[in-house]
Amino acid sequence: MRQGAAGEDMSDHPPVPRLTLRGITKRYPTILANDGVDLAVSAGEIHALMGENGAGKSTLMKIVYGVTRPDSGSIEWEGNKVTIHSPAQARRLGIGMVFQHFALFETLNVAENIALALDERITPAALAPRIGAVAERYGLPIDPGRLVHSMSVGERQRVEIVRCLLQSPKLLIMDEPTSVLTPQAVRQLFDTLRRLAAEGMSILYISHKLEEIRSLCHNATVLRAGRVSGTARPREQDNASLARLMVGSDLDDRPPQPRKAGEVRLELKDYSMAARDPFGTALRQINLNVRSGEIVGVAGVSGNGQKELLAALSGESIAAHEGSINLCGRRVDALGAAQRRALGLGFVPEERLGRGAVPGMSLAENSLLTGAHAGMVRYGVVQRGAARASARATIAAFKVKCGSEQSAAERLSGGNLQKFIVGREIRLAPRVLLAAQPTWGVDVGAAQLIHRALVDLRDSGAAVLVISEELDELFTICDRIAVLTAGRLSAAHPRSQLTVEAVGLLMTGTAKGMTGATPECANA
């Protein structure tokens, strides 16, 4: 079934594309998710589906995979018009999908997980040799007997890919596959995808990362607000032209100017903390300082102690620990979140809804969440006018798209809510700001605005600590970068002395069970 390798050069398309979408339209009560979308993918083609968050990429892929039905439009599979009712039918046609969030049972092993997900009935023991064979053939080393909870995110993704490949799909859909991978794991994944395409498989690659698309994909379809805003051959484009298709305007990507750092504002000394649950990570002997006027980045794949480090810094829950934390010259490791805030700590948490903001409350009420000391509460009475004014100012300064300051937080898109939360914290003029995954799931334009705001805050003399999985982000804004791996933090090195490659190696060097990565660290 794998024939007609199209390989790298896609100059002559086969006469009948493998998948053709014509005029796909899908309307939800609040939004027109897809509006007359056309798309064609040939055999052996790696086709990028690009677009910012909320552009309609996921809806379109759910339609192809039979999870959702379009309101109008048609789907042709190898030249025949089809109606895809269900994922099971999509799989029978030969469509496989690797989701962004993996649905694996942590307490089962690889073979058991895959056996559960396959449409055919087969015992895990009988499946194991087939898993081994597919894994070997495509350079995806996994052990069928390993328990999933012991695997890294990259390895879990391999399990998902192998699960799809076992069904010999003709079209593989990959939804933002690299968002959780280290640079080395990304390269491995790309090797595999290229090999699959060379054998004639079609791949639909959903992403908003321009570099990746340019290095991997033959063709690209760009969605903006539910419509196709253009198609391109990514290799013939530069980042700026691709971004313009995606965002609709030029991006301002001047690198921030370095600045002289001042006194130490935040300092951890030999900070250790035991893991609080069996799947948590213990922090071991963490030493870190952040000075006034600098941005320090903490790189690393989630699950290596990020959550625990943030909890220790924010004071949301105070656990038994060794070592100390100093904030603006005061020892704070026994103080609660409110007291640390009073000393000048600002915090942008990773979860927006439910932690950074109360979903059912208005933006004005959400300003009050951290603004009690900023004139919004007097003698225990809420100053509603002040809270509203503060919310309005944040909305204006950070270009938050919302009805008004009375809109409920849950009605905002993820990116807009993040702009609001970052803006709210920055407008409180913190002396130290913690930001966790500040642009996770945020579109390019908003990400840039947030980056600019963090740099401006730094320039005003604040100390900023950014914890992020996105290396590009850290290299864009940070003055120094440290790497968190298995609860240990490396020394923070100036950005100019680091390469993405070296940080990637630090990230994987001691990560549990990462195969294919060389353990020696390029310590710049």
């Binding site: 609040t30 109606t83 009712h85 007291q339 805030r341 932690r355 509460v377 809420v382």
Partner: protein, 367 residues
């Protein structure tokens, strides 16, 4: 999304773009209407003329000044308990034991009235009321302490304490506090008249407790919508992680919610014994503390709504008594109506966030 085959059409439950504000207000009214419609059927089924039965249930009790007084009298403890509970419910603190706190309020207030009523003179009534508040709050302090110290469920603890409170009252009334001239009935001496709450109007039984309740309702509205402490409690209820993020103490919320809820229920209890009852006896409350849970939710956890819901619930009590007398229906009718009201309210609440849409096209097979 669930699809219901219903007649020739397909009905689809669809999430609304925004929760419907109109529906939020309409839901209690729809629930009340559905309760009326169902009761119509039930009366018909029981062989009573439904129109007559509804007249006996809902109209007859309010035919007199005395009837209106009874309405306010019974609404008062319901609203007091409901207001206190609602503050807790909106802060994720599930005090189910208002009935027990009410009983303790009656015991403590009654104790003061029995033993120090004469000595205190003009201060007797205020001190009695305060003792009731303190008693209810102290009883609620037990689940508060256990939750903040040992992380126990306040739902179970507060509920179980109801039965302990009632047994404590039984013990006192069969023992040390029994009226020596009461022919061995388990009840205390009648309180001195000077300790009783003054009536609003002669010829009926509603007393000063009703305007006190209205004042407290206004206070509770100010507390939850204007004070930072109320805001902290709402944040703690709606998004505990956001409350932790902002540095709001969960302990403080739990204590505050249970102290206010227990104090309000205690006040309701003492107002009963120094009001219409006039002494301590075994039956202080026909389940006001439990019915107040329904009152809090039917009233949308909002002060004005709770006062209105308490009046409705009070009418259900009066109607239940009225049909017992007039139509020889069982006493369980009151509970049946209360249950139906809550049941229909929860059902109607679904349509705050969702709407039902008719799908004309017959859908194809779905996997």
């Amino acid at each position: 999304m669930p699809e219901l085959p219903w007649g020739p059409f397909l009905w689809r439950l669809e999430r609304r773009a925004a929760p419907s504000a109109a529906m939020r207000i309409a839901a209690p009214l729809i629930a009340a209407a559905a309760m009326l419609a169902t009761s119509f059927l039930i009366f018909a089924f029981l062989g009573k003329d439904p129109l007559n039965a509804l007249d006996v249930f809902f109209i007859e009790p309010l035919n007199s000044l005395y009837g209106w007084g009874e309405l306010l009298l019974k609404a008062t403890p319901l609203a007091l308990c409901g207001l206190g509970l609602a503050l807790g419910f909106s802060a994720n603190v599930w005090n189910i034991g208002a009935e027990g706190q009410l009983t303790l309020g009656a015991i403590c207030g009654g104790g003061v009235a029995l033993y120090w009523g004469d000595i205190l003179g003009p201060l007797a009534l205020p001190v009695t009321l305060l003792a009731g508040v303190a008693g209810g709050a102290a009883w609620a302090a037990i689940p508060a302490y256990l939750r903040t110290r040992f992380n126990t469920s306040e739902i179970l603890v507060s509920l179980m304490l109801v039965y302990i409170a009632q047994l404590l009252l039984t013990y006192l009334l069969h023992g040390v506090w029994r009226d020596p001239e009461g022919f061995n009935f388990p009840q205390s001496r009648a309180f001195d008249e000077r300790i009783l709450l003054p009536l609003l109007y002669d010829g009926q039984r509603a007393n000063l407790a009703f305007p006190m309740m209205l004042g407290l309702a206004a206070l509770s509205w100010v507390f939850s919508s204007r004070l930072f402490a109320g805001y902290r409690m709402r944040v703690g209820g709606q998004a505990p992680a956001a409350a932790a993020y902002a540095g709001f103490s969960e302990r403080r919320n739990v204590w505050l919610a249970l102290m206010i809820g227990g104090g309000a229920a205690g006040l309701a209890g003492v107002c009963e014994v120094v009001g219409p009852i006039g002494r301590l006896q075994l039956d202080i409350s026909p389940g006001y503390g439990f019915a107040a849970i329904i009152v809090a939710f039917v009233g949308r956890l909002h002060a004005i709504g709770i006062v209105l819901a308490a009046l409705l619930m009070s009418l259900l009590y009066l109607g239940g008594e009225s049909v017992q007398l007039g139509l020889q229906l069982p006493a369980a009718v009151t509970g049946l109506f209360q249950g139906m009201l809550l049941f229909y309210l929860l059902a109607a609440d679904l349509f705050v966030g969702f709407r039902l849409r008719r799908v004309l096209r017959v859908s194809e097979a779905r996997a």
